[in-house]
Symmetry: C2
């Protein structure tokens, strides 16, 4: 390297495409996409103006211009993710209402489990709820809870949990369990002692959860 030439911030590979297509909407979308990708793949650490700009193949100045910095970018990303959750949960609402509160919770549990296992964004949302105390991503956290509540309210109809059961607490336990196990399977290859990569394991977990719901709420 020529020592007289101070390495610029983003070396890039100029020469291929000298300038981006001058399309603000597309650029903003690219930035959001990059931010989401980085955040889901590398978590809160590794998330920064430089990294996002590099991944989006965009000058970081544009991030400041369009979003006012990292905070604004996260805010915009929060809105996007909230919408995503609504879509993902609502389009999976059961068309035929369940016949009992237990059946309702079983459906919710299985759907949540499936969603979190297949959608990286769903998994990451749950992780943010735990990880980021700094408030950097705090705008993102609320989305999931609201979407879940909405889904529940819509699917519930007039069903009531049996008397003497603290449904809110039990449901929280179930949602929490699902969230944790999926998250644990992401990094570790063993969840509390069960093999995470094994497909049979998830079948066992599903049966366990269904069993818990059944013996708590009735069939």
């Amino acid at each position: 390297m020529d020592p007289d030439t101070p390495t610029p911030d983003t070396p890039g590979d100029r020469g291929a495409a000298k300038t981006r297509s001058r399309d603000r909407a597309a650029t903003e979308r690219a930035i959001l996409d990059a931010a989401q990708t980085i955040l889901t793949q590398q978590g809160a650490s590794g998330f920064g103006v430089n990294a996002v700009a590099r991944a989006a193949r965009v000058d970081k100045q544009l991030i400041y211009r369009y979003y006012g910095g990292l905070d604004g970018l996260l805010e915009a990303l929060g809105d996007r993710i909230a919408l995503w959750w609504q879509d993902k949960l609502l389009d999976g609402a059961p068309d035929t209402p369940p016949h009992s509160y237990g059946a309702l919770m079983t459906a919710l549990a299985l759907r949540l489990l499936h969603l979190m296992r297949t959608e990286p964004l769903a998994m990451q949302s749950a992780l943010w709820e735990l990880t980021d105390s700094t408030g950097l991503v705090r705008t993102l956290t609320a989305s999931r809870g609201r979407a879940l509540g909405l889904w529940m309210a819509q699917a519930r109809g007039t069903l009531q949990p049996p008397d003497g059961v603290d449904a809110a607490a039990v449901n929280a336990v179930i949602v929490a369990a699902i969230s944790y196990m999926v998250l644990a399977s992401r990094t570790s290859n063993t969840v509390i002692g069960l093999a995470a990569d094994d497909a049979a394991t998830w079948g066992r977990i599903e049966t366990a959860i269904c069993g818990i719901i059944r013996s708590t709420y009735g069939p």
Copy 2:
């Protein structure tokens, strides 16, 4: 600031104590303490040679000398935390063996919940199990699982879960639920919809968990 004087890495406040007490064991302990504090208070991000050295009031060179860098430091910290878990769990093993598998699991669940709520290190251990995919803290992750298994094996004795119940799966669900809820209460002030700071909430959660265990394993 004098522009000719490049700011040194650690400004510090020389003049108070010009030199540390020349005691390697104490220094190593200080480094470990600082590392643990930073890791439990700020998580994996914010953890670095400079930060640890600053918190330990020690020159970072010593971290390289004594631990060979961050990796070695984390390894040493992993050993320490594994011991801590063993102590914390084992000294709480019930002296009178429980009379049923359900009672055993109830005891374990309540103890785990209490431990994780009162001991920041316990909470953080669970968090590492989820957060750190990069392998930076991976040496720390296994500790908790092993300690839990050990405790279980010791307290269990000859007790057997009822037939037809996948005890491993159900137990995993319970441990996972506890872990998640405590972790969620750390940052957010609402756990899946329940108020986290409220003491009554934890009572409700305890009853819910005990109810689940009872209706699954019997009284």
